[in-house]
Symmetry: C2
Subunit: 213 residues, 2 copies
């Protein structure tokens, strides 16, 4: 067994990184294994040597992507010591940070699920988180319910928060075109939403916004 520890970055890792980038950009069907090999700077056969097949490699990328989308979020939602108001601030900021680093992440996940719904019930099936996830959402819902807001299902509010945060990343080219934004202005637009989205969400819940009124 050769030593792997000293390697600056292992071949296996280079392939994974390249696959991550290309799959998220072009999707499963749109990505050639040869392109991944090129991007990783290795021979095509190596890809199959380390990761049995394109499908296997994709599975790894997808699982990791789903984790990125949910894990940090769940830790926050699941924490019973933070208030609902704090949770809103944290979740919005966590997502904006995450999506700035991985702008293609949400569209990748969503459209792969759309293209192949059956595949996901089994092959990925929202990896090993399902139970905690449901639990987290339930907990958040209970907290929201306690915060007032009569007869509206608090799940609506969670969806609103996620929608308003994620959608501007998914629709980046549209938004830039429609509003004639350059990259700098778009960036600024996103930053403004860090404070605005929590503000709007809290208003929906009838929660007092600090420094207002």
């Amino acid at each position: 067994m050769r030593e792997d520890i000293n390697n600056d970055i292992s071949t296996e890792e280079k392939i994974r990184k390249a696959a991550f980038k290309l799959f998220q950009q072009k999707g499963f069907a749109g990505t050639r294994t040869r392109d991944i090999a090129d991007e990783a700077g290795i021979n095509l056969a190596l890809l199959n040597y380390y990761y049995r097949s394109k499908e296997k490699l994709f599975g790894i990328v997808m699982e990791e992507s789903l984790k990125q989308m949910f894990v940090r979020l769940l830790i926050v939602l699941n924490n019973p010591t933070t208030s609902i108001s704090e949770k809103i601030d944290i979740v919005v900021n966590i997502y904006i940070d995450l999506l700035k680093e991985n702008p293609n992440l949400p569209l990748f996940v969503l459209s792969e699920v759309q293209a192949n719904p059956e595949k996901f019930k089994k092959q990925v099936g929202i990896p090993d988180l399902t139970i905690e996830k449901i639990f987290a959402i339930k907990q958040a819902k209970e907290q929201i319910e306690k915060a007032g807001m009569g007869n509206i299902d608090p799940f609506h509010i969670i969806i609103n928060m996620v929608s308003m945060t994620i959608f501007p990343f998914a629709a980046k080219p549209m938004i830039k075109t429609l509003n004639k934004m350059d990259d700098e202005r778009y960036e600024q637009f996103l930053e403004e939403r860090r404070k605005l989205i929590p503000f709007w969400i809290k208003s929906m819940l009838g929660i007092e916004n600090k420094g207002t009124k």
Copy 2:
């Protein structure tokens, strides 16, 4: 030249319909021309006979899809006789109607643009609407600005409205899984948002909501 008028539905049209369905479901790279032919119930060669190539056919589907996404919207936004409040009601309802009929539409458009950003600046380029579109958004912004709401760029509010409306369709499988919804409950969830989204948007703008308070 053979008569085409009496045909119940022309072969050309059958191919177009099939292409529409499959491209929106699986994307460009994920759709085989053979699948389109099968779906249309015709021979593969016919596809190339009527539409020179896969790319040409895709271009037609994409152009039509973009139109679906924007044309109805622009007509509403551009009408100077309807108030901002009415516009909000109409836009949200138009989108929910549209997306109920074409649930895959938004994810299709957004992810194809993501997968191939260059392609869209030229090949489709948001067909022939660009100028009016910018104009419409500008007009809506002006109306929103007049409605008050100090220093927030009204474009944020437009994005919020679109986000909250479109995202639940793009994330349908996620939402159903996360909230343990069956189809009926999901349907009901969407219907609730017909009234809720305009309510929230108007609240953001400080516009009086009918029947409240």
